[in-house]
């Protein structure tokens, strides 16, 4: 059992009950008792206990062995010969982490005929780019990319490896982690270095209701997938120089056990991806009829924004699934998010609450979306949105 409770030492202050997120501690006379089935051993109680009556048994750390691992790596995903935005965001963040550690940023570029992108990564902050270029990597496959990543990581011993939490990143990283028997944290929205030089991985859980700080104390590298659009990419510095190393990693076609027969792009002509947009205009049930979608579209066109929607709109087939924002859709964090006629169910909020600025327009003054909106207007979106469009047009003319 992982949790040790010293009833003698316990003063019965009940602080532990207050901090337990899992209802695993209850009052037992003037002391407490633990429900181990509910306990996830998160350590909140251990931390808060003023007399150290709670101890969570953990593995021992071999610090010498861990110290051999150095540098911050970023798996830089490409798409149709271009770097995904998240690669630039992560290299920027990796630079910050590496500077704190006094180590290097190493960007990993896997694909075919992608060497030209290495320079951008150096300008973005990488000290070194590992380029793995072969026809077998032209299309993403879990098998080939896992072999490449595992073959790079195992002998070179990085301290940290970051992946973008895209569809590909979210299935590649766990495959690599399982192969190398490493810890992995999903969908991080924050990354820090603590006083012990460990990577603190911060992520939302329970539909965004709580934040958790995760560590990988025993194994290296520490691996995490990181949500797109959370960290801002820095301005590229074209005077930066760095090393580009080509690495040959052979994969036999037989080792790739999946074959792509076809690829279907569903992003409708002219419809921007919600995951990569700086501004998103989202609508919910309040839009009433699919023919009314030209209103959010007009606002989006004006701002070079993407049009998104809540689950009911997508379920009704008014927008393609690629545009759905929320827990069962895409997680976004644009600079500006318009919620038009969206009440703000927790599942929707989980997918957009890390946006920089949230604007809500809703008829219902009690709609929960107003609780998180930076700017809320209680009113009819069919009156307010045209007025906003008019105002923005005027502003643009003035500029």
């Amino acid at each position: 059992m992982g949790l040790l409770y010293d009833r003698e030492t316990c003063t019965g202050c009940m602080l532990c009950i207050k901090v337990c997120n899992f209802g695993a501690i209850e009052k037992d006379g003037d002391k407490v008792k633990f429900d181990i089935d509910k306990c996830v051993l998160c350590g909140s109680c251990e931390e808060v206990c003023p007399v150290d009556a709670i101890k969570i048994e953990r593995r021992t750390v071999d610090e010498e062995a861990l110290a051999e691992y150095k540098d911050v790596w970023v798996f830089c995903e490409t798409h149709e010969g271009r770097l995904r935005n998240v690669a630039l965001e992560l290299v920027t963040k990796a630079r910050e982490l590496a500077d704190k550690l006094g180590e290097r940023v190493v960007a990993v570029l896997i694909g075919h005929e992608i060497e030209g992108l290495a320079e951008c990564l150096i300008h973005q902050g990488a000290d070194k780019v590992l380029v793995v270029d072969d026809k077998i990597y032209a299309d993403y496959s879990t098998d080939a990319y896992t072999i490449a990543m595992a073959s790079l990581i195992a002998p070179r011993k990085p301290a940290i490896v970051l992946f973008g939490a895209t569809n590909n990143g979210r299935e590649l990283a766990p495959r690599v982690a399982a192969r190398l028997k490493l810890g992995l944290t999903a969908d991080c929205t924050g990354l820090e270095i603590d006083e012990n030089r460990q990577l603190v991985q911060i992520r939302p859980a329970f539909g965004g209701n709580i934040m958790a700080e995760i560590l990988c104390p025993y194994t290296r590298p520490q691996m995490a997938t990181v949500r797109p659009n959370v960290f801002k990419p820095s301005e590229p510095d074209t005077s930066r120089t760095g090393e580009i190393e080509k690495v040959e990693i052979k994969v036999n076609p037989l080792q790739v056990r999946t074959r792509i027969l076809d690829r279907v792009v569903e992003v409708t002509e002219g419809m921007k991806s919600v995951e990569e947009a700086d501004i998103i205009v989202s609508c919910g049930r309040g839009i009433k009829d699919p023919s009314n979608l030209n209103l959010p579209q007009a606002l989006a066109d004006l701002l070079d924004a993407a049009v998104g929607g809540s689950r009911p709109i997508v379920d009704a087939g008014w927008l393609p699934p690629t545009q759905q924002v929320g827990q069962s859709g895409r997680t976004v964090s644009p600079k500006l998010y318009f919620a038009l006629g969206i009440s703000g169910a927790i599942q929707h909020i989980a997918g957009m609450s890390s946006s920089d600025i949230i604007v809500a327009i809703n008829k219902d003054p009690e709609a929960p979306i107003f609780e998180i909106a930076d700017f809320g207007i209680v009113g009819d979106l069919f009156e307010v949105v045209p007025a906003i469009i008019e105002e923005i047009k005027q502003l643009k003319e003035k500029r």
């Binding site: 590909n168 766990p174 209701n209 934040m211 995760i214 560590l215 999946t258 700017f375 105002e391």
Partner: protein, 262 residues
Amino acid sequence: MKIIVPIKQVPEVAEVKINPETGTLIRDGVPSILNPFDEYAVEAAIQLKEKFGGEVTVITMGPPQAKDALLKALAMGADRAVHLTDRAFAGADTWATAYTLAVQIKKMEFDMVICGKQAIDGDTAQVGPELAELLGVPQICYVRHLEVSEDQKFVIAHRETDDGYEVIKAKLPVLLTATKGLNEPRLPNIMGIMKAKKKPMDVIDAATLGVPEDEIGLKGSPTTVRKVYPPPRRSGGIKIEDMDPKEAAKKLVEFLASKGAI
């Protein structure tokens, strides 16, 4: 065709509330449900069994009450259940969970493993791919359309991508993770619920599973949770009521321009 469906019992996340005083989750009275993404996986497995014959086994690692999730899957039409339950499994992260499931699944025969894309409490989507790796089979994640060839040797699946989907072919055995759109999970009927109680359910503890203690639960987990806290609350900002739409729009645009957002 033998299909294994790993499932998880989760709290109904939509009903989880925060205690404003302590900032902790209020879980009392929050119902436990079969993870919604796992319902797509169970439904897909049952449909394949109905077409090709065979057997669907649902498996979970969880506390005793997780039995209810298994019963639901049995009521939908799964044939048998395996419940890995032991205090020693507590505190497992995704790696230790995948490892524990893999040890059991390796003892069983399967043509396909179908998981839900992710559990709605942790939202990691990691156990599926980790399990595929530990079982040594290929994976196709985020599947929203699935066909199996008549000779039952191949699957053709539509895998959701960031801008659409890929049509992917793989030879069995394979692990799939199911996402929304794959099917409409059936609701168990009374007959199904009655039958479920009579279907075989193996309850297995750590000793029976035969796993070393330092590979499971908290001890076997390479990650640890250092701290859990409520998210920084976004304080609601400006809220305008009873204002002429034009006036309100003007105020909004001024606000956005002052923040440099437009």
